[in-house]
């Protein structure tokens, strides 16, 4: 169990929120939404690997 993963996701979330607010205040709505999308994709890429690890661990231990 790694705390760094949770902190990483929270950090990306706070960063993306800040970037979104700055960009939308500056009147660049479309870039703000792109930043949001990019953040979600980055976090999903990290999470998919973790889900894969969990599934293979369960498959090994419970003998699927």
């Amino acid at each position: 169990m790694d705390v760094s993963l949770i902190l990483k996701i929270a950090g990306i979330g706070i960063l993306v929120t800040t970037a979104h607010q700055i960009l939308s205040r500056a009147g660049r709505e479309e870039q703000a939404s792109l930043v949001t999308l990019a953040g979600v994709i980055v976090v999903l890429l990290v999470l998919v690997q973790e889900i894969d690890k969990l599934f293979s661990a369960i498959r090994n231990i419970f003998g699927f």
Binding site: M1, V3, I6, A10, L47, E50, F55, A57, I58, I61
Partner: protein, 127 residues
């Protein structure tokens, strides 16, 4: 990893998730997902010696196939609850109930061989 440490990490992650729910909904869900994966991994790592012990106990008793089926059912239940609860937390209770339905079907199908054996035994008693 000790129990207290795991609980502390879970509480910290929960607070982060609540903090981010106000700002961005999707990251809250993702933190929940990451935290759930970590907690399930910790729980499995904790229970692993017990599973190994039960396996060694059942080695020469002819209980092997049933133990495999039971462990498979445990895994199906674990994964189904994991996915369904996260979907429900994210506000998608329709998807959660469908995930549970799929899990129940998989569970029934994995229990089918045991049912077959039982019915064969009953047939043997009757005839």
């Amino acid at each position: 990893m000790t129990f207290v440490k795991v609980i502390g990490i879970a509480l910290a992650g929960m607070i982060l998730s609540v903090l981010l729910r106000k700002m961005r909904e999707e990251y809250s869900v993702m933190i929940t997902l990451a935290l759930s994966i970590g907690l399930i991994s910790a729980a499995i790592a904790m229970i692993l010696p017990l599973i190994e012990y039960i396996r060694t106990l059942s080695e020469n008793t002819g209980f092997d196939t049933y133990l495999d089926i039971m462990l498979k059912a445990c895994a199906i239940g674990l994964l189904t609850t994991f996915a369904a609860e996260i979907s429900r937390d994210a506000g998608e209770s329709a998807i959660a109930s469908k995930i549970e339905m799929v899990g129940k079907c998989a569970l029934l199908m994995s229990a089918l061989p045991v049912m077959k054996t039982l019915i064969e035994a009953a047939k043997g008693f009757i005839s």
